[in-house]
């Protein structure tokens, strides 16, 4: 249960090796935190996070294997975690950027991206929503992207999955409105992480910890949608209203 000062006791990270999600965990207030579940495919990053958070004095940090694409396993997976105790905050942070050019040439690769980023998220998102509803409280943070605001030539396959995810998360938030369960949709711009390493930096590129701070602040204020950094809201409003003939010719 979150306390009156917004201190959570338990957090579930779906995509538990995601840099942005782990930065969010680091930014959360810790005075009452006693359970963190990092759900991800086995990885060195996931194991390191468990070791680090435990060393920092959080008592119940565990890692569990989770594959967003095996949707048939999601029901049992989520039930086991929630049966062990209420979860105050769920971070839905998994996702792959994929290789746009390769995916254009091989639709099977595009399906993989869509399955992870959209289908997998819809499946686990609904299972999480069901359990938040049952416990009568809790927040689900969905990491969308400005790439979903308007699909661009250079990454429209990734962008379209985030557009779908974003629409799904907004609708879910509306469905849950007033139930004590709450959905926060975060739309980061380009973030310096492993995923974006080597790519040329877009304007307003930011760091994972900046996104994390915005998420934590928005959770406390009960916000429903937030851009990271905040002023991207205006940039994206401009881009969305741009005529298609012009938008198409923008660099990258």
């Amino acid at each position: 249960m979150n306390d009156a000062l917004g201190e959570p006791q338990s957090v579930l990270v779906l995509g538990g090796s995601s840099e942005i999600a782990l930065a969010t965990v680091n930014a959360l207030p810790r005075r009452r935190l006693r359970r963190i579940v990092l759900a991800a495919r086995p990885s060195a990053a996931r194991d390191l996070a468990v070791t680090t958070l435990t060393a920092e004095g959080i008592s119940g940090v565990t890692a569990v294997d989770f594959d967003a694409r095996s949707t048939e396993s999601h029901s049992v997976f989520i039930n086991e975690i929630f049966d062990a105790g209420d979860i105050d905050i769920v971070l839905l942070a998994f996702g792959v950027l994929g290789d746009q050019e390769a995916a254009e040439a091989d639709p099977a690769l595009a399906v993989e991206i869509a399955t992870t980023n959209y289908t997998g998220a819809v499946s686990i998102g609904l299972h999480v929503a069901r359990r938040l509803r049952m416990q009568g409280h809790g927040s689900l943070v969905v990491y969308s992207s400005v790439a979903g605001d308007r699909a661009r030539r250079s990454n429209f396959i990734y962008g379209s999955t985030k557009a779908g995810l974003d629409a799904f998360a907004q609708g879910l938030g509306d469905a849950l409105h007033g139930t004590g369960a709450h959905v926060l949709v975060v739309r980061p711009g380009m973030v310096r992480t492993k995923m974006s390493a080597g790519m040329p930096e877009a304007p307003m590129t930011t760091d994972a910890n900046v996104v994390a701070d915005i998420v934590v602040k928005s959770l406390r204020r009960g916000k429903e949608t937030v851009y990271a950094p905040g002023p991207l809201r205006f940039v994206m409003a401009g881009l969305k209203s741009m005529p298609r003939s012009v938008f198409r010719k923008l660099p990258r």
Binding site: M1, D3, A4, E7, M134, G136, T179, A181
Partner: protein
């Protein structure tokens, strides 16, 4: 079981009086013990909790996903003049009881700062009032109560005899031993509905405290309001006793036992978060201090004005805006009286001056393992929840209070740590043993219970 993602009929979003941390639950109205039993027996995995008028500040009267019993129609009130007791349904409010029995010359044994609480809540939280140093808590005046346990079994519990352990576990048990459905308690006989009040304005905290120690025995009711903005800790002590009929003027005698308070105003439903800011709180504190006479004796005040001034403004909890507020109430033994000043200083330092802060002396504790009051000082300060640095400041104060042998009041708590609670309520395991007898499946639970691992 399929469940709609959206709120369905019968479900409600519940919070405490501080309007922080909401959770939703299915609220079921019950009007008989049989119905209460039926609901308990049909409880889902998230369990059951009885809720009264929702005046506990934190998460004590809510339980996410659970079935919440609303017993407000179990509101019978019967005054027996021979035994000097009232028998009331758990859902009867102290307001309704006063309206029924004050004209008959009977006053409730204990009333907190609001009369908008139920009998069930008064026992569950083991509430105290301005007469704690003389009369103890509400629970200390209960002669018997009816409890429906976690399996739906009905118990008649009394403070002495075979059922005493279950009785005292229920008093102050925050509704976690079962649902109280009825109780019989002593009254204070009165010959008028007026309180004879003495008021003293005092210029610093040390003087407030020494005057309170000196005056303890002289009055049945006494409490001090403290100006939290002024570093001096100046305050206003008000003390009183039920005025005997003989003390009334001829005009007052004509309606000596009148009790008819009205809500004077309602706080608007939408208030911007910043309305209650440092400036307005400062102005309020200054005005509240100035409006008190330097010294006045034998002023006649109504029950409402003396005990429940805030009940005159319906929904006053809205003034703190959307982020809500909390009330930090602790008790420390006399030996740690200096922590009162420490707490006031610390709250002022983090920019959390309180709008209403009350200081009071407690008498001895009662046999209930989870009852809050113990001999010493108690301070209660209302603080807006949105202040940066508040969590750290209160955690630091918690540590000092725990080290001094003090503790926090569960009916006000919305933020202490499970460790703090376990450390400062050393009789917790004793209480848990009795609770496990009454409710082995843990059917009765609350957000507070989950948060503190009770």
């Amino acid at each position: 079981m399929t469940q709609s993602l959206s709120l369905t009929q019968g479900e409600k979003l519940l919070t405490g009086w501080g309007r922080t941390c909401p959770s939703s639950a299915r609220v079921v109205d019950c009007s008989s013990v049989e119905q209460v039993q039926e609901v308990i027996r049909g409880a889902g995995p998230r369990g059951v909790l009885a809720r009264g008028l929702g005046r506990s500040y934190g998460d004590a009267a809510q339980s996410g996903g659970a079935t919440v019993l609303n017993l407000q129609s179990m509101d019978s009130v019967a005054f027996d003049a021979t035994s000097g007791t009232i028998t009331a349904g758990a859902g009867a409010s102290l307001d309704a009881i006063m309206r029924a029995t004050v004209p008959q010359g009977a006053f409730v044994p204990v009333t907190p700062g609001t009369r908008m609480i139920t009998v069930g809540g008064a026992i569950g939280a083991d509430v105290h009032g301005k007469n704690h140093h003389v009369d103890g808590t509400f629970g200390s005046h209960v002669k018997s109560l009816t409890l429906v346990d976690g399996a739906g079994g009905v118990h008649e519990l009394t403070p002495a005899g075979d059922t005493r352990e279950k009785f005292w576990a229920t008093v102050g048990g925050m509704g976690l031993t079962g649902a109280i459905t009825q109780a019989t308690f002593d009254v204070i006989p009165i010959t008028s509905s007026l309180i004879s009040v003495d008021t003293q304005r005092v210029n610093d905290l040390d003087e407030v405290m020494s005057k309170m120690i000196a005056g303890d025995d002289k009055y049945r009711y006494t409490v001090a309001w403290i100006d939290t903005v002024s570093p001096s800790g100046r305050g206003v002590i008000t003390s009183g006793d039920h005025a005997p009929f003989e003390q009334l003027s001829a005009r007052q005698r004509s309606e000596a036992l009148l009790f008819d308070p009205k809500a004077l105003a309602t706080a608007p439903s939408i208030i911007p978060g910043g309305l209650l800011n440092k400036l307005t709180i400062r102005a309020f504190n200054e005005a509240w201090f100035r409006k008190a006479p330097k010294s006045r004796t034998d002023e006649m005040q109504s029950i409402g004005a003396f005990f429940h001034p805030l009940d005159g403004v319906a929904d006053w909890n809205r003034i703190y805006g959307p982020r809500g507020f909390l009330q930090y109430q602790f008790v420390v033994p006399d030996s740690a009286g200096h922590l009162i000043r420490t707490a006031l200083d610390r709250l002022r330092e983090v920019g959390a001056p309180s709008f209403l802060t009350v200081l009071k002396r407690f008498g001895a504790s009662n046999p209930a393992p989870l009852s809050f009051p113990q001999a010493g000082w108690t301070l209660a300060a209302d603080v807006p929840a949105g202040i940066d640095g508040l969590a750290a400041a209160l955690d630091e104060l918690d540590e000092l209070i725990a080290a001094a042998g003090g503790r926090l009041y569960l009916a006000k708590d919305s933020r202490q740590s499970p460790q703090m609670f376990a450390q400062t309520y050393p009789r917790l395991s004793e209480w848990q043993k009795v609770r496990d007898e009454l409710d082995p499946q843990g059917t009765f639970t609350s957000d507070l219970a989950r948060r503190l691992s009770i």
